[in-house]
């Protein structure tokens, strides 16, 4: 049996290694704390595996260059933080409209504006869902350990190829900079998904935006002989602009419905002591590490507490959350912002349970004691 490779890595380092393991061969980016290590590592690692790194002039260019690279057939990625993520929004929407797979890593820091560049935060949660204009789908993953950063980076690439969308990997500064032991998966243990290619008989026409049952169209790369058109305008199955009201309606709806259709493949979560949980903590990212401690402490005090940890923030794992909350009399939602993901939880439970936030925006992690207080208190 091959010996397992074990390393001591930061989240940002694990992200870069996960990307390469997933087949990423193109990185375009612009320096910004606390994500810069990802670009630095990719600039060193990509040429080693025959990939390409390019430092762009700004984040507007970074998102554009990775979308272009993906159209030309490379799995691509960028990494940024709040201000840069804001600058990328227009073309994240282009990627959603034109259905271009790519991965955008946002190592969240405090905001708004320049905010707290080296402090942790989870204040971009709603921006990861609704950052770009217009109705649009979103797939957002949020890891909580260094090994999970590796796995979720691989998952981000796989899901982006599977449903043809820019996938957002939302880390926070603690996860990005924290060091942990990580055991790499053995070669062959890793599942890598590639985009579905058109499979046409001679003489058949390629419709680049005609979707089958899974609602995801097959994607040809530029240069493979298909000579098709890509635009950010509303388009029909041929890829060309349309103003036909029926096609506008069905085109816009399909972008959302393909996420619903592939829901089971997109959703990941963890449930801890939820079978008998009377108080359910819903936490993600680094905050879930404090929550894990808090529910153990609560149980020592005789309070049956459990944790539901969404790894996929969007689409929301609503069904699993309701199952985890089936015995709960209240829900506690700690997050390093002034109350963002709690809005989703409140919407999902629909007023059947009280939902309390534990919020902190001082650039420090939420202590387990504060979460415990909310669990055992009224």
């Amino acid at each position: 049996m091959a010996e397992k490779i074990v390393k001591f890595l930061s989240g940002n380092e694990a992200c870069a290694e996960g990307a390469i393991a997933a087949g990423c061969r193109f990185f375009g980016g612009y320096p910004i704390s606390p994500s810069s290590e990802i670009a630095e590592i990719m600039s060193r690692r990509l040429p080693q595996v025959g990939g390409r790194f390019i430092q762009m002039e700004d984040e507007l260019a970074s998102i554009a260059v990775i979308l272009g690279a993906s159209l030309a057939g490379s799995k691509s990625m960028t990494a940024t933080s709040g201000p840069g993520f804001s600058l990328m929004q227009e073309n994240i929407g282009f990627g959603m409209m034109a259905e271009i797979p790519t991965v955008v890593v946002n190592v969240m820091r405090g905001g708004p504006s320049t905010g707290n560049p080296t402090g942790p935060s989870q204040s971009d949660v709603m921006q990861t869902r609704w950052g770009t204009h217009g109705d649009h789908p979103a797939v957002v993953l949020s890891p909580a350990t260094v090994r999970e950063v590796f796995d979720m980076t691989v998952a981000a690439f796989n899901l982006s190829e599977l449903v043809r969308i820019p996938v957002i990997l939302a880390m926070d500064e603690i996860i990005g900079h924290m060091r942990e032991k990580i055991e790499f998966p053995a070669p062959g243990e890793l599942k890598v998904i590639d985009r579905k290619k058109p499979n046409l008989k001679p003489g058949e026409t390629y419709y680049p935006y005609e979707a089958g049952e899974d609602l995801v169209p097959a994607m040809a790369n530029f240069g493979e002989g298909y000579r098709y058109h890509v635009t950010g305008l509303n388009h029909d199955r041929t890829g060309f602009p349309t103003g036909n009201p029926d096609l506008l309606e069905s085109g816009n709806r399909r972008l959302m419905e393909k996420i619903v259709k592939n829901h089971d493949k997109l959703i990941q979560y963890e449930s801890v002591h939820t079978d008998d949980a009377e108080v359910l903590v819903v936490a993600f990212g680094s905050t879930s590490r404090s929550a894990r401690r808090a529910i153990e402490d609560a149980r020592k005090q005789g309070v049956k507490a459990g944790m539901f940890r969404p790894i996929t923030l969007f689409p929301q794992p609503g069904e699993a959350l309701l199952k985890a909350a089936s015995k709960a009399r209240k829900i506690v939602v700690p997050e390093m912002n002034l109350g963002q993901y709690i809005l989703e939880i409140q919407r999902i439970v629909g007023g059947k349970l009280p939902v309390t936030g534990v919020n902190l925006v001082n650039g420090e992690p939420i202590q387990p004691s504060r979460i415990l207080q909310a669990i055992v208190g009224d």
Partner: protein, 273 residues
């Protein structure tokens, strides 16, 4: 010039959106003649654009075509070219798209010297949005956002490209399609980043507001505002004052980005000689 343009056109996408008198079609035909002359494989050509009248070009052309967001054609094109250097990437952009919202990408793409060509359809106005002043609107000329005449000095597309490091820079008038063919062929052949400042009249929005007359009146005026760079040596400074040179203004050899990156990969992987 008796070529069959429809081998490169998506005929079913016609008629195009451009106004009568617009010079954009002249530039498109010149680009197609250049591709024909170079015998590029249609499957290897990528035409990428941003937003604006000129940026509708890719939709009419039977290549790999990409209509992106405002100002970003060069950044998308860079990703395509660097990811797959065998593709021929041509970016088309208006003056506002290339030099205002896309200005940062313009100068950095020049600096990197990636083997692509940018054709700026320069009509000194934002046409699609209704005639607002652009970065190349002549000082004193009117736009819907400069109703009393522009007080800002315009960019000179070619000077900006040369200063930023482009390795082939030319200016062409749509009045002289023969010269434009030669200049675009030169741009496409250059192993590096090429910029062609292609002048094209916007009769609908620039011409009417400024009372510059019909398309042919405007073409005459552009001719009067320019001179052949080959004749520059014989002209006095007085003759050249306030006028724009036309022709190949700059051509140098400099290492191309993707070639250097390929060499870097070889070096890093220990396969260098």
């Amino acid at each position: 010039m008796g070529m069959d343009y429809f081998q490169y056109l998506r005929g079913d996408k016609m008629p195009h959106i451009w106004c009568p008198g617009c010079g954009h079609g002249t530039i498109v035909k010149s680009i197609l003649r250049a591709i024909k002359k170079l015998e590029w494989d249609q499957n290897d050509v990528v035409v990428v654009s941003g937003i604006g009248c000129s940026s509708r070009t890719p939709g009419y052309l039977d290549f790999n075509t990409l209509h992106t967001t405002h100002g970003r054609s060069l950044a998308f094109g860079t990703g395509i070219k660097v990811a797959n250097p065998k593709l021929h990437v041509i970016a088309v952009a208006g003056d506002g798209d290339a030099l205002a919202i896309g200005g940062n990408h313009f100068i950095h793409t020049c600096r990197r010297n990636i083997d692509m060509t940018l054709i700026v359809y320069n009509n000194n106005i934002y046409g699609m949005t209704g005639g607002q002043a652009s970065p190349t609107t002549f000082k004193g000329a009117k736009g819907t956002t400069a109703p009393y005449g522009a007080i800002e000095d315009p960019f000179d597309v070619c000077n900006l490209a040369i200063a930023s490091g482009a390795t082939y820079v030319a200016r062409a008038l749509d009045l002289d399609a023969v010269a434009m063919d030669r200049l675009i062929v030169g741009a496409l052949k250059n192993k590096g980043f090429s910029v062609v400042d292609a002048w094209t009249q916007c009769t609908t929005y620039f011409g009417r507001q400024n009372k510059w007359g019909s398309a042919s009146d405007m073409m005459d005026r552009y001719k009067d505002m320019s001179y052949n760079v080959r004749l520059a040596a014989k002209m006095s400074d007085e003759d050249k004052a306030g006028k724009f040179p036309v022709g190949v203004l700059h051509q140098v050899e400099r290492q191309e980005f993707s070639e250097q990156y390929e060499a870097l990969i070889q070096r890093v992987q220990g396969r260098e000689d």
